[in-house]
Every structure is written in C-alpha cells, then in structure tokens.
Point group: C2
Chain length 556, copies 2
C-alpha cells in the first residue's frame, strides 16, 4: 500500500494534469500577479490579478466578470452566448484561481466542455432548453454529499484517494444535470470538514483571494475562493456549523444555508464517511454561494422546483413558494444582541452598526433584541457542539487509515465546542444525553420563537462571526453561525464593506475575554458581511428580505 | 400514600360526579338499551340506543345526528343555533355514550357550557366570531399531548392521578381555544398507550359502539367510540403506530394521521411521561377523528391556518395549501400488495376489492403494486418496532410507581414488534443501532419513493389492518398502519362497508400463518374501512383524494 504522501502527490498531480498546459502560468509570473513584495501582496481581487494575467480574452473576461448566473442563463437560452463559450471562460478563470488560491480538488474541464457543446447542439436542434439551468457551469464542494460519477469524492483525506471514483451521481448532482447544468470542478475543504481553514494533506491550503495571508474560511473554503475570484458563477457548499456562510463572509460572496433537507443531501459517499449525521441531531444541508442575491434565488427556486424528493427520499417534499416583497415593503428587523463571551471585533461591529443605520434610513422597523442567556449565540453554539459529539465515530479516526498527520487547524482543536462548559452532562449515557439535548434545543427554539412572535419580526440581522477572515488557523468557535444550525433556521450572508486599519485602528474597549485579538494590519482589506436569518421553513421570506436589504445596503 | 385502587376509584368517582344526575340512567335501563339478551346485544349504533334512551330532545338529537362539524359552525356563526344549545346536546350525548361504552376520562361539561354562553354573547355583542371554530365542541384524547388547564392528563396510569392537574394548556389546546372551540371532555386510552385495547386500571375498558364485545381500538379508543356514537362532532387523537386510524377503522369513523409536526404536538406532560419520543425516531402526531371527510379537512386547514409554530416551536412552519381536485379528477391509485405474513381477513379483503372495483368503475387509474420485501408492511412494522424500542425508558416501568397490575392487552404483549426477527442487530450499542435503523429507514423510504415516482401515483389505497375490530385483547401487530408512521406519510381512514357472516362465512384459503383466526360470528357487524396514503408533506393531496374516493365509495 502506498504511503499517504504518495497517495496525496499522485492525486494532486492528476488534478494538475487536467488543467490545459496553455492555461498554466510559471511560478514567477504568479508571484508577480499576486503582488509579491509590494504593499498589496496577496490582494488578488484588488490587484485584478486574473485580468492582468492576460490569459482571458475580452469576451471571456466579460462573461466571467460582468454577468451573474441568471443573466448568463438568459444569454445562453437566447442564443446570445453559447454554453461552450461560457464554460470555457469559467474553466479558464477557475484554472487561474486554482493557481493563485489553490481552490480546486477535482478538475474535469474537458468533460464539461463536451457537455456544453452537446447542450448547444440540443438547443439548436430542439429550439428549447434541457432545463432551467441549461448550459450554466456550476462548481461543487468536494464533500461527501456531492458524488459525480467517474470522479473522486476525497473529503480531504488521503485514505479516500485509494477508493474508487464514484459510480453514481448524488441526488443533487443528478438534479442539477437534469436541469441542464454543466459541472466542471470540485473545490477544496478542510481535513475533517470541521474547521474554518480549508487545508488538507492532499490539496494543501486554499488562500483568501482578498488577501492570501488570511483564511478563505471553511469548510466550503474552495467554493468561497473560487466564487469570489469569479471562477464560478454559482457554487454549491454544505453547512452544519457555518460551512457555507463562513467562506462567504471570509471571501466576500453571498451565501445561503437553507432549512435542512429542502435541498437534497442524500446519496452520499457510504460510511464511514457519513457519520457526522446523527439522526435527530443537527442535519447538514447544501446551499449556494454566488456573487448576487439573484443567483441565490435562482439556485433555491430551481432546485426545489425540480421536486427534490423525487431524487432523494430524505429530502422534504415541500414546494418553493414564490415570495416577492416588492421594493416598497418595510421590514421589521430584529438585531441580534452581541454575546459578551464572543464580542464583536471592531470592523464586524462597525459593519453591523452601519447596516442597521442604513436600514433605519430606508424606513425599516428596527428592534434590538435583548441579550438573554436562553437565546444566546454562546448557548446555541455549546448545544450544537454537543450534538456534533453524538456521532458514533468522528472524522478524526480516519487519519489512522494512512497515518497522515492532522493539519494545524485540526491539531490545534480551534473548535472546542464545549469549552464554556457542557449544557448537558456529557457523562450521561447516550440515550439520556440525546433526550436532554433535544429538550434543551426545544427550550432554545422556544426562546427564539418568543423573540419572533412577540415582536412580529420578518428577519433578524446578525454578524456572521465575531471576526472577519483571520490569519491561518486562528478562526474561533463560530457560534454566530452554529446557533442557526441548531435551530435549523435559514440564514444567509450579504457582503457589506471591508475591514480597514485606517477606520478601525484600535481594539474595542469591550469587557470580557477576546476570542481572537484584533490585528488591524492583518485584517485590513478583509471583507465584512452581515447575516440575515428567518424562522425554519421561511427560506422564501429570508431570501426576499435579503434582496431588499442588499439593495438598501449595497445599492445593487 | 393511597393504593392504586383508591387512586383509581377516587378519580373515576370524580368523573362520574361531573355528569349531571338527570343524564344518568339506571343500570337496568342501560342493559335494555344495549339489547342485552337479544340477538343484537351490544350493537348500540344499529339499535339506536342513544335515541331510544329518550334523554335527548328532538333538537338535541338533530344537532348531534344530522349535522357535521362544518355545518354546525355555519349554523352557529349564522345565529341559527347557539353554541350553548350545541354544547349541551353534545355533552348530553357524550354522557350517554360514556354510560354505554365507557369512553370518557375527564368531564368538564359545566365549564364548556359556560364558555359556550360566553361565545354566544361575544357573537351577539361583536357581530363576529372569535375564530373559525367559534362555538364548536371538540373532544380530546387523554394523552400526554393534550393538557387542559385545571384538568388531569392521566395517561391511563393510576400514578398520574396523584399529580396536580395541568397548570397550562398544551399548544394545540390553546390554538383550538383561540380558534373558538369549546372543550368539554377527554377520552379513554390504553395503559401504556401502546395497545389497540383502550383499557386501563382507572377507567376500565372502552367498548365498541358497533358491537360491545369488540375492541374500540386504541390508543385513541375513547375518541373512536365517542365520535362513532356522535357524542362528539370532532375528536382529536394521536398516532405513533396507528392510534388514530385503528380506533377509526374499529369504530367506523373517518380519521387522519397527518405528516408529523404539522399539527402542534408540543407542551406535553413533563417527563417521565414523554419518553416515547426518541429524537430522530418516529414522531407521534395529532390528528382528527370525525364523521365526514369535510370535517377532517376543517380540522387540518383550521389548525394549520393558525400557524402552529407560533404556539409550539417544534411544529413545522409550513402553510396549508388549498387543494381542490374538483369532482372530475381521475386519480392514479396504487393498491398496496398484501403481505403474506399478515394476510387480509375475508371482510377486509372484500372491502378492499370492492373499493378497487368502484374506483375502476369511477374511471380512476388503478395500479397494483408489487409485493416486494423492501417495501412490505412487515418490514415497515419491524423497523418501526425497533425505533419504538430506542426510547430510554418505556411506559412499562411506570406501573411500578403504584404497583398497579398490567391490563390484559399489555400483559399479553400483543405487540411483539420484533417477532419476525429484528431487521437491525438489537445487540448493537445504541449509537450504531440508531445509525443502522436510520439507514434502513432511508432504504425503505427509497423503495416507496420508487413505487410512487415510477408510476406517478396520486395516492395508495390499502387496508388499515388485516382485521376489523376483533374481540378484546386479540388485535394483532398493526403493520399496515405502522409502516406509514415509519415513513411519516399522511394516511387516512374511510369507513366502507361491514363485516358480515352471511357474505363471508368462511376463512380465506390463504397460505401461511394467520395472525388472528377469522371468526365470522364474532366479527359480524364490525365496520370495514380502507386506508388512503400520500407521500410525506402531501397531506393536502391526501385529503383531496380521500374526498373524491369517499364520494365514489360511499356516495356521500
């Protein structure tokens, strides 16, 4: 049997070989593009590194830079652009993003281009599209929920490289293909899937395209970096603790974690790689990352419009409701209270305050929610952490298969879910622990239902984290995202502003311990974001409110 | 501390004392009304025992006999009938049903009549109703999910009698009150809630009003007997294995088990009485028993129209969809294959065959589903049985509190869920057992999803059980209902025909072992029924199809 180093190297080489040679730049050119040695080093987006590479034609640049997924679909179905041209453009841009940020794991560009040609021919022959996603390239996280026939689902473990490629498509993959999508790559993740640093021993670390010295987030970090680099018009991630929303807020993209099981998650890689799902615990879910609100809507309405239950019996058979609040609707927006245990860092606090000020200015009704322990992010995070711990065997044990070492973020254990004390006695036998956790979750849900109903809220606005993207391996416990997984509330990320050492030169004079020390220099240029949340099954209302808020904040 | 006998007697006496003396008949008069010593002995409905009692005025008889809940609501809101008149009529009829079938546990007629007067005054003063159930009497099963402030939730255990009465209303109870309902009684259940004989040491055994020598079914047996006696226009039961559908089919009423958590089930009596619910296991659900399809619709649309999540954070916040197939829609109806391990008894087989023949005649598309093990009632029942066994402590242990004995159906263990062999190794530790059961359930769900999608079914028609109501303590394992709890599919019962020794004098010459021996004499006169099923969350389609089928079968 090969060593883990050999397995990793051979798989990495396979990926690299799938990128056409003419799209590969020499290392010194890449350094130059990323601004090595200059003040702006690693600020790939600010430096327009991809445009400056000169590799994209003007049309390819326009396709990738000046459209969103929705407008590309219109152009393809209207015969203004071919799927082939769009697919080649995104493959090329993804190849560049890969070289600059190390965001890809599986690369199947040629297969994608062949399919795009077939779809173009189909449209020409039949004068109709295959489905609502006809010809659109879509990227997929390299997680266990996205098997693509003929390709690996590595999950960031060298042990998985020696497994055979997938023999069938996952439910969502098949649904996307039936809708006409073109799949062309998978994207990087952390070893264990449970850190906010997308690093593993096969593919290395994904870098943040806004500033390569910062984490791209995780676990859908490859998607975050790829979508932010506009190497994908629409990416699919998964989220059990924040894994869609963390890379979104780190990389400055839009992201949406739906209510679980509305988007199909079934037909995963077989056990032992599926053990994170404990029945009755916290259900992971799939959802989109994109560069516009319109494209989050596109993904959700299209996927659910295909009736996912037909693909996956574990998906909920609940129709998508067409909700349009219009542009004049005034929302009642609750503002989540800061948890003193997880104080907001200066740029995060400023972004939230500015967002609230703009919402007031736009005429929305703002309600500041009380800071009570019963509904606090800290309690939500601790309960979620204990739920994750119910799984019969964790990912941790799988390193042993090949003897590969833990990557730093895993070894550090930066996710000490129970650090503030377990809300439920961890010594209880499993049955009683499950029962007590379920009761505690119901209590937490009741506290939030009261917040909602007593104030007749439309949505809650909250930080997505108490930090922005941070230097490698220092991302804290993501309680501000985890709490909504515990509640199974839909929650989305809207990018809003930037961290700036000029505007926020100093730490806040907040009480209590800081989870991470604020470093104005290190964080300068990192995207800021807000999180918008609605009650369980109110995904439609959540997105409709996000569109209004996005307009008011980003004038988009 | 009082003995269990003392506790039971005092509570029974309290119930009896709540029935006005002028509504109580002497024992010999009751025997006479139930036909004691005649050929028709115990056939209360056939003998019109309640009408013959002479206790009801003509108006009270008309109110209870010739209306359904929907038409009563129209008359009350239209000032044609007062809520007081309707409430008094049903209290009186319920008092008679209690004396004839022993169906009640808690009686609060006076409170109900006072509330009805208040509602009448409200309507007079405000020219508008309190809500969509304004003035309608509704009966509730005496289960843990229905706490009514000031009254006991006994659960059929003498130990619970020494507990204090409920201090708050359950979520559904509060919702019904907010909608304008009048609550006036609770109804009998089995000790343990897990047999089909509604007998316990406090209230004794509920008798079947069609034939008192047969079980009324369980666990909502009191509701079945009361609704069939027309002592309630609308009853609420609960169902984790068939507990709404079994009494419905035994007593000849309509009944509906919705997808779980659409009707609120929260705010139950505190542990240790809630241990049947294992997170991620099979979720019990509340639903209606009534004398018409229209009233099942009324209950579901009204309850979900009140947005149950506002009352109960564990309720799913999914709107009720108005579905009306109209009268001309031709359905595609799958016919469940008989499980040879649970062969259909002659009247059950005949009712199903006749129903299918009428559906064909009405122009519907009938598809006979294959008999495969992967989707069989037997496998569904065995898996469900193992899920029930996950609960950390069963009801069984609670007898020990007062030393009361097990009633016969519990002692017999007529529900040997695992008798055909456990589908999942019962020696596995809990975590792996839960995991394996979840996977097995997903496989079962996949088999059913294929049945559905491959044939584009609207609904499935099936027996509700392989028997009708049977003599006391002989009801078999209810796999034909349990399988839909495992899948969490909505399923309803439509009464259709009767067991008849004249038509079916002999057992079928079926292969294999018979769960219960067919006894043409004992079963003669028992109601027959069919069960209609739709996929999870398709409650609206299930009821809409049931209305069409009911019209075609019962010309109602």
């Amino acid at each position: 049997m090969a060593s883990w180093q050999e397995l990793a190297a051979s798989h990495r080489n396979k990926r690299d070989a799938a990128i056409p040679r003419e799209w590969v730049l020499p290392q010194d050119r890449l350094s130059q593009l990323s601004g090595a040695g200059t003040d702006g080093e690693g600020r790939l987006i600010l430096l327009e590194s991809i445009r400056r590479s000169g590799l994209l034609t003007d049309e390819e640049f326009a396709i990738t830079e000046h459209h969103n997924a929705t407008s590309l679909l219109r152009k393809i179905s209207g015969n203004v652009l071919s799927s082939e041209a769009v697919t080649v453009a995104f493959c090329k841009r993804a190849a560049l993003a890969q070289q600059l940020t190390s965001c890809l794991t599986e690369v199947f560009f040629q297969e994608a281009i062949d399919r795009a040609k077939w779809l173009d021919q189909y449209l020409q022959d039949n004068k109709t599209v295959v489905g609502p996603l006809h010809g659109l390239p879509i990227s997929l996280k390299a997680s266990d929920s996205f098997q693509v026939k003929g390709h690996h689902a590595t999950l960031g473990y060298t042990a998985s490289v020696s497994r055979q490629p997938s023999v069938e498509n996952s439910a969502l993959v098949q649904l996307l293909l039936d809708a006409g999508a073109v799949l062309y790559c998978k994207t990087n993740i952390p070893q264990t899937l449970m850190t906010a640093d997308s690093e593993n021993n096969i593919f290395g670390r994904t870098l943040n395209p806004h500033k390569t010295s910062l984490t791209a987030g995780g676990s859908s970090g490859g998607e975050g970096a790829l979508v932010a680099s506009r190497g994908s018009p629409l990416g699919v991630g998964t989220d059990i603790a924040g894994s869609i929303r963390i890379p979104s807020l780190c990389c400055g993209t839009y992201g949406f974690k739906p209510t679980s099981s509305r988007v199909p998650y079934g037909n995963q890689v077989p056990a032992p790689f599926t053990k994170m799902r404990f029945p009755g615990g916290i259900t992971p879910c799939a959802g989109p990352l994109a560069n516009s609100m319109e494209d989050l809507d596109l993904f959700m309405s299209t996927v659910i419009g295909k009736r996912p239950w037909k693909y996956d019996p574990t998906a909920l058979d609940i129709d998508w409701r067409k909700i349009d609040f219009g542009h004049t609707k005034k929302l009642t927006v609750g503002v989540l209270a800061e948890d003193p245990e997880y104080p907001l860092m200066p740029p995060v606090k400023r972004a939230l305050d500015e967002a609230v000020a703009l919402l007031v200015q736009a005429g929305h009704n703002i309600v500041f929610l009380p800071a009570d322990e019963a509904s606090s992010p800290g309690l939500g995070g601790r309960l979620a952490g204990q739920f994750y711990g119910l799984a019969p065997s964790g990912y941790e044990s799988k390193e042993e298969v090949t003897g590969e070492p833990k990557v730093k973020s895993v070894a550090l254990g930066v996710h000490p879910y129970g650090k503030a004390g377990f809300p439920v006695d961890p010594e209880l036998d499993l049955a009683h622990r499950v029962d007590s956790l379920a009761i505690a979750r119901d209590d937490f849900a009741r506290a939030w239902q009261h917040h909602w109903c007593d104030r007749d809220l439309d949505v809650v606005v909250a930080p997505g984290c108490n930090t922005t993207a941070v230097p490698y391996d220092t991302y804290g416990v993501p309680v501000y995202t985890m709490m909504w997984n515990l509640l199974d509330y839909p929650a989305g990320i809207i990018p809003f502003g930037k961290s700036s050492k000029a505007v926020d030169p100093n730490p806040r004079q907040a009480e209590g311990q800081f989870e991470a020390d604020y470093n104005p220099d290190a964080w300068d240029g990192a995207p800021c974001a807000i999180q918008i949340i609605a009650p369980r099954f109110r995904d439609e209302e959540c997105l409709a409110a996000m569109r209004i808020i996005d307009k008011d904040l980003n004038k988009s």
